[in-house]
């Protein structure tokens, strides 16, 4: 019998965002620095060319570094609760099913599941993201099925 998958990337859009920015900016920076010919207008144009490439390269690199936690954290769902961590070591967060107060679906670009230790009534999307007692995961079918399997709380749509 096939073993059921219980570990998932938590934020698919963040992975897409990181890859999108890197895939566009790195080849573009390389192209501008190494392939585009020297300017025939004046020397300051080459400075501007390098400036353009370095902004693309450095800002996207900084973004990638600071979004590692956001993009590459994984959640594991088992009979005890939902556990989130980066590379199984860092930024660990757990919500046991006995602690969970609410589980809600929220639509913001993609559809998300928020599992919370506190009532989420009246909280905005950004407040939900910042709250330490809340875990956000992309609402894929396998995750929903596992939550339904292990938790007694109904998944509701957040107003």
């Amino acid at each position: 019998m096939k073993k059921q998958k219980t570990t998932f990337y938590a934020n698919h859009i963040a992975i897409f965002a990181t890859i999108f920015l890197l895939v566009i900016s790195y080849p573009l920076s390389f192209f501008i620095v190494f392939i585009v010919p020297k300017s025939a207008i004046d020397e300051s144009q080459d400075f501007a060319r390098y400036l353009f490439a370095s902004i693309c390269f450095s800002v996207s690199t900084l973004y990638a570094i600071f979004s590692v936690n956001l993009a590459f954290s994984k959640v594991t769902i088992d009979e005890k609760g939902i556990h989130k961590s980066l590379f199984k070591k860092y930024f660990k967060k757990t919500i046991l099913w006995t602690e969970a107060k609410e589980i809600k679906l929220y639509n913001r670009v993609d559809t998300w599941i928020f599992i919370s230790k506190v009532p989420m009534e009246g909280m905005t999307y950004q407040q939900l993201l910042k709250h330490k007692g809340i875990i956000q995961v992309t609402a894929v079918k396998e995750i929903k099925d596992l939550i339904i399997k292990y938790s007694s709380i109904d998944i509701e749509k957040k107003d």
Binding site: I13, A14, F16, A17, F20, L21, I24, S25, L28, I32, V36, P37, K38, S39, A40, I41, D42, S44, Q45, D46, A48, R49, L51, F52, I55, C56, V59, S60, L62, Y63, F66, S67, L70, L105, N107, R108, V109, D110, T111, T124, Y125, Q126, L129, K130, A139, V140, K141, K144, I155, E156, K157, D159
Partner: protein
């Protein structure tokens, strides 16, 4: 629970990118016609800008505030700046690209894209019902991608916001920033007065 049974809400993201690219291309075409430049270059650069900016804005809205600010402004810079580079390279050749012009267009585009990100964040916060339908994730990813390419009211609304406004402004920036090439190749004569 309210279900978006078509699965489009996954963002209609690909439909949004496609629509952003088309609207960006048409905006670039209009700007090229006004500027007396190559229409193909205008369309290509507008389409590239539209696709990059639309994607950046769409993903920015799902990220935490700081991530959203960086992603939207960076996509605005790359979309606006690189679109301008392509436009110039097509019209004048790679050696005659005015990189200061492209940095300027990219900078303005970054600021403007950031502004749109702020406005859309507020719209999302104040009227979540506009985007309230929940994706039916039991539909296969391929079907959801297929559905998202159809023009629904959500796709159209988002495409208009993500792609159209910013790429239209981007094309306008193109017309307003001073081009260094206007002096390129011209002989500058300075009269000296000897006392």
């Amino acid at each position: 629970m309210y279900l978006d049974s078509s699965g489009e809400s996954f963002i209609a993201i690909l439909g949004t990118i496609a629509l952003g690219a088309v609207i960006g291309g048409v905006s670039g075409l209009i700007a090229a016609a006004i500027n007396g430049e190559d229409l193909g270059a205008g369309f290509l650069s507008g389409a590239v800008s539209g696709a990059i900016i639309a994607t950046g804005l769409a993903i920015s809205l799902a990220l935490p505030t700081v991530g959203g600010v960086i992603a939207s402004s960076l996509s605005g810079f790359i979309g606006g700046g690189f679109g301008d580079v392509l436009n110039q390279a097509w019209n004048y050749g790679w050696e005659k690209v005015d990189w200061w012009h492209s940095v300027g267009v990219g900078g303005l585009s970054a600021v403007f894209t950031l502004g749109i990100f702020g406005c859309l964040s507020n719209i999302y916060r104040s009227t979540p019902s506009i985007f309230g339908s929940i994706t039916d994730t039991s539909i296969s990813l391929i079907s959801r991608i297929g559905n998202s390419l159809s023009i629904s009211s959500t796709t159209f609304y988002l495409g208009l916001n993500y792609g159209a406004i910013s790429t239209f402004m981007n094309s306008m920036f193109n017309l307003t920033i001073q081009d260094s090439r206007s002096n390129f190749g011209e002989e500058i004569v300075i009269d000296a007065i000897l006392i």
